[in-house]
Amino acid sequence: MTISSDPSKVTAICFDRINIPNQNKLSVARENGAYKFLSTVLKEFDSDKIISEVKTSGLRGRGGAGFPTGLKWSFVPRNTGKPIYLLCNADEGEPGTFKDRDIMRFDPHLLIEGMIMAGFALGVHDAYIYIRGEFLHEANVLNAAIEEAYAANLLGENILGTNYSLNLTVHRGAGAYVCGEETALIESLEGKPGRPRFKPPFPAVEGFYACPTVVNNVETLATIPAILEFGGAWHAAIGKPNNTGMKIFSVSGHVNKPGNYEVPLGTTLRSLIENQCGGLQHGSVPKAIIPGGSSTPWILAEHYDVPLTYDDIVKAGSFLGSGAIIVMDETADMVALTRRLTHFYAHESCGQCTPCREGTGWVERVMTRVENGSGCEADLTVLKEASEHMAGRTICALADGAAAPVLSLLKHFPDEVRSHLKEKVA
């Protein structure tokens, strides 16, 4: 790796090798530092040390909820007599998010190495990568990389001559967004329809086949090798307190250079857009920004200078989520945008909870009517109430995600909605 041991000089963690061609080949990856530190971890570290380093690092889950990874790992009961499973969440379904895909297709060995280390820390012998069904190419790349890793004794029995054994399997999803939700993912992996489970019990205690299970996002796991090599304290020194490390932001929308950018947490939104993304397509400030994937509430220009940290975005009224930033400049039709998002959620609801099953479809139909100009003032109340009473009242957070765009629209752009009513009714 070319990562600097000086935290102030770190420019990338997960994307460190991303631009080197043919990283997916084991030989190339190894030349560039892959698995260099693995044997030290397997031979000299133990579970407690690894978990404590990860705790010290302050790493928070990169999949959406931002839950501290070390803490999650420490919840796993170790002596139940049941196997412990590690599942990598590579479903990457959140609209706007496309970061995990790049890690998997360009540097699959980074993820594999992270999973071996995490697996070792948790006493896991069977791990799975649950990959979004549409990522066929990425699944092929991963499978080829895993095959090479097995051949090189990096996976399988007695890895690198140690006592530790791990099997790693790629499982392709079948195209449901909700299967990115960790318990739906578990159901799906068990061969059942992807419907989230209510909690408790949490997966850490009763997950895959009712055994203790850790589900982590691709980016989360891909950060582990650097943390173990350079130390938790090193990672904690990057970014901001309680919001440490680097983060990949998938930026899309009205910017000149959309794409994935890995920057330290705490970088301001304006800086990311102006310095990395080539600025806005029109105007000097955005009209609205979705900071963490389509399921997060919108923020407005007044928050253009918000530091990109979990905590600061919460203060601004939204969530950092998966780090998928969708930028809308003044040309955006917020009603059309919302209508399209309501269609997504209505289509993706797994259908088990009453509010989400019925509410998402209802809201979509009303939004469609509003967009088409056949809405009325009373529809605003319907949209608001139908959305508010989905959020936080269901088995999983999909309903919260479905409510977010509608509530944001009504909160921030009521006039735009009303102009749709007036404009076309007349």
Binding site: F198, H347, G351, Q352, T354, P355, T360, W362, R393, T394
Partner: protein, 786 residues
């Protein structure tokens, strides 16, 4: 224990209880749809939201466990709005066809709309309509009304074990569907209509007939099998609308047999008036005239009395009272599935309570198709299996159980001695002998390895045997049961409190029957043969149908018409064409009376239905007969009959006086002197006959039900079935016509094959077709036929 506060009231519940259950226990009303106490939690309806201090959002109470000091509110403005919204969500696609929906008036959706809903809906878009699914003869569907609570799916998975309901699609295209067209595979399917909180799944036979507020509910006891489930019969005037499980009763479910038999209550098969034979038919007459005819037939004759166990305890005892005054040396028979009338070491009935069986370390089913025979007990065992507890079985067939058995051995009926002897040997080897075992074993040459399953189970701390019809109907049943008795005593499962000896009875009230008739009973076959031979001059048939049921159809055919017959009954049955006089008796649902189930549980019915015609309680008919035959009636009131019963079972007196401890159970009769050694039976023929017990056709009541007949048709198997190896050994293949040599002559059938029948067994599965084979215990099979 965990202490929490529900609406500021301190409440203590078992740790791990859900908030909803804690609320229910303490009278705090929380609305819910998907929750059901007998099913796993699904938490999908979101109606059960409550507020918990410190939680950012309302919590679903059914899936949130209580915690120490938790403060729960079940009422607030916010919750009212949440519930109102859940109702609005649910109603946007609901057809609102309450006026034509059977559920109307007893519908959770309707009730909650009134109590929690808004006064109008705001949904103005297109509504969803869902295609219905054919779920067979018992469940009608209107899937547009479904609210997706998944209770039915969980029922099919967890209770029925058939998994034949499922969820298709997602989002608001989600729908509930059956997997197979036409038939639900479950003998418990009728419960679906009861657990569906709305009118999506409804009772098909009673569809579009009544509204819940028009019916009167009668608490009653089902007598269609020895389980004796608590039921509620819904009637409107003289009509019987439907039967449901009694939610205040001990079990939540009833089986389809007990539920759908109700159409027989009002069928043309009922005997509703006294009749006498005239020419080829019969004519209705007044009671007096009918009694006069009956007296003519019976007076001073050698009488044979055959009756069924469907009657109440009082009705059954009155038969004995009549016999004792009027027919002192009459032959009496009642068990259509028992060939060996010697005393059994443990008579019919359960030594264990249902709880003992459910909790025992080991349960072994011996020779019973328990899913057909005792569907509710089977359901409890299924639950047990699902929890990973052992249930094993030895029998003539791998009968379907819809659950996983820990061990399942198939044997021929002739192997039972060798099975038991093998188990005895193991107990002796492991230092658990019983006096008498050696002598018993000495009479048996072979040892059968299936006995290991039995012996292994016996070595557990607690073990319950469920001894079924294959043993009860064995020609040498008394010695087999004595053998089992020794095994149980040797391994410590015979003592009071740990008694695991359970002989599945023919029907209800078995304990009373062995107490009251133990000294006089003969086999039905013997009685019928006596009629055929002229040793009996007249028959008094009380509710039994030996032509249609049981193991003596050939004997019955031979005897019918040879002697005059008085039929007292509620259902005519096949045999009624031979009746010279018919006296209509009120059905089990139409009398005040007492019923005892297999475990000795007592139920006293006090809210009978009205009979449709001129039926009278059986005890009244018996007493009147006694009088008309010139004797003093032994009793003139129900209390008088009960007094007489108390001679046999004194404790019942307290039950009737309302003084009994509700838990007292009628014990099973033990016969210490029934030390029967195995008979030397030289198997004369190649195949042992086993008759199927089908819950959809066994019993005259059930055959009078049109909807059960339809189910019987859907669940029918081939006429007769053998193992493919049995055919192959004779150079035959499936669907070849075969000739069966029997002790009563030869007959021809096409033998179907199934791997799950024991080799060497001929399984008679269609009584209506191959019924006469049920009279046989052994047959030879050969190629070809006319």
């Amino acid at each position: 224990m965990t202490t929490l506060f529900i609406n500021d009231e301190e409440v203590t519940v078992t740790a791990g209880t859900s908030i909803l259950e804690a609320c229910r226990k303490h009278g705090a009303d929380v609305p819910y749809f998907c929750y059901h106490p007998e099913l796993s939690v699904a938490a999908n309806c979101r109606m059960c939201l409550v507020e918990v201090e410190g939680f950012a959002k309302p919590a679903a109470s059914c899936c949130t466990p209580v915690s120490e000091g938790m403060k729960v509110r079940t009422q607030s403005e916010g919750l009212s709005k949440d519930r109102q919204m859940v109702m609005e969500y649910l109603l946007i696609h609901h057809p609102l066809d309450c006026p034509v929906c059977d559920q109307g008036g007893a519908c959770k959706l309707q009730d909650y709309t009134i109590t929690h809903g808004a006064n109008h809906g705001r949904y103005a878009e297109e509504k969803r309509a869902v295609v219905d699914h054919d779920l067979g003869p018992f469940v009608s569907t209107c899937m547009t009304r479904c609210i997706h609570c998944t209770r039915c799916v969980r029922f099919a998975d967890e209770i029925a074990g058939t998994g034949d309901m499922g969820i298709l699609n997602r989002s608001d295209h989600m729908k509930i569907d059956g997997i197979v067209e036409e038939a639900l595979e479950s003998e418990l399917s009728g419960n679906l209509a009861e657990i569906c909180p709305v009118g999506a799944l409804l009772d098909k036979p009673s569809h579009d007939v009544s509204r819940p507020w028009e019916v009167t509910r009668h608490k009653s006891t089902c007598t269609q099998c020895p389980q004796g489930c608590d039921i509620v019969i819904e009637s409107r005037g003289k009509e019987v609308i439907r039967i449901k499980s009694d939610h205040e009763g001990v079990e939540s479910w009833i089986c389809d047999r007990g539920r759908y038999v109700y159409d027989a209550f009002r069928s043309v098969h009922r005997i509703s008036q006294p009749t006498i034979k005239e020419g080829d038919g019969s004519v209705a007459v007044a009671w007096d005239e009918a009694f006069a005819h009956a007296v003519n037939i019976l007076k001073d004759k050698k009488v044979g009395i055959v009756f069924s166990p469907y009657w109440s305890v009082e009705g059954l005892a009155s038969i004995r009272m009549l016999k004792d005054v009027a027919f002192k040396d009459a032959k009496v028979a009642f068990d259509l599935h028992r060939r060996d009338m010697r005393m059994f070491a443990f008579e019919e009935g359960f030594g264990s309570s249902t709880e003992d069986i459910v909790e025992a370390d080991e349960v072994v089913i011996l020779g019973s198709d328990l899913r057909q025979r005792l569907p509710i007990l089977m359901q409890m065992l299924r639950k047990r299996s699902n929890e990973g507890k052992s249930v094993s079985r030895i029998g003539a067939m791998h009968y379907r159980t819809n659950s996983e058995l820990s061990n399942d051995q198939i044997i021929r009926p002739r192997d039972w001695h060798a099975v038991i002897a093998r188990a005895m040997q193991q107990l002796i080897d492991q230092g658990k002998p019983a006096a008498g075992m050696k002598e018993w074993m000495a009479k048996v040459t072979d040892r059968h390895e299936a006995g290991k399953v039995l012996a292994d189970a016996l070595l557990a701390d607690t073990c319950c045997l469920l001894v079924g019809e294959e043993i009860r109907s064995h020609v040498d049943a008394a010695s087999l049961i004595f053998g089992l008795d020794m095994l149980m005593r040797a391994s410590g499962h015979g003592e009071v409190g740990r008694d695991g000896r359970n002989l599945i009875p023919e029907g209800m009230n078995a304990q009373l029957l062995s107490a009251v008739f133990g000294d006089v009973r003969v086999s039905v076959g013997e009685l019928l043969d006596a009629a055929n031979d002229g040793d009996i001059e007249a028959l008094l048939l009380i509710g039994s149908d030996p032509l249609g049921d049981g193991l003596f159809p050939v004997e019955a055919k031979r005897a019918m018409g040879k002697v005059p017959m008085v039929q007292v009954g509620a259902i005519a049955g096949q045999i009624s064409v031979f009746a010279d006089v018919q006296l209509p008796a009120a059905a089990y649902s139409e009398v005040e009376g007492t019923f005892i189930n297999q475990e000795g549980r007592i139920r006293v019915a006090t809210q009978p239905l009205k009979s449709l015609g001129e039926e009278r309680a059986l005890w009244k008919i018996m007493m009147r007969l006694a009088q008309d035959l010139g004797f003093e009636a032994p009793a003139v009131s129900l209390d008088g009959v009960r007094e007489a019963i108390a001679q046999y079972i004194p404790e019942l007196k307290d039950v009737w006086a309302g003084k009994a401890d509700g838990g007292w159970k009628v014990p099973v009769k033990r016969n210490r002197i029934a030390e029967m050694l195995p008979n030397d039976i030289e198997p004369a023929m190649a195949l042992d006959v086993v008759s199927r017990y089908s819950m959809y056709r066994e019993g005259a009541w059930v055959r009078a039900s049109a909807s059960l007949a339809e189910a019987g048709r859907l669940h029918a198997l081939d006429d007769v079935i053998v193992h493919p190896d049995t055919l192959a050994a004779l150079g035959l293949k499936a669907n070849d016509k075969c000739t069966f040599q029997t002790s009563n002559g030869a007959c021809q059938f096409v033998a179907g094959t199934r791997d799950d029948v024991s080799p060497g067994v001929l399984f008679v599965s269609k009584r209506g077709v191959a019924g006469d084979l049920s009279s046989e215990t052994m047959v030879n099979l050969s190629k070809g036929g006319a």
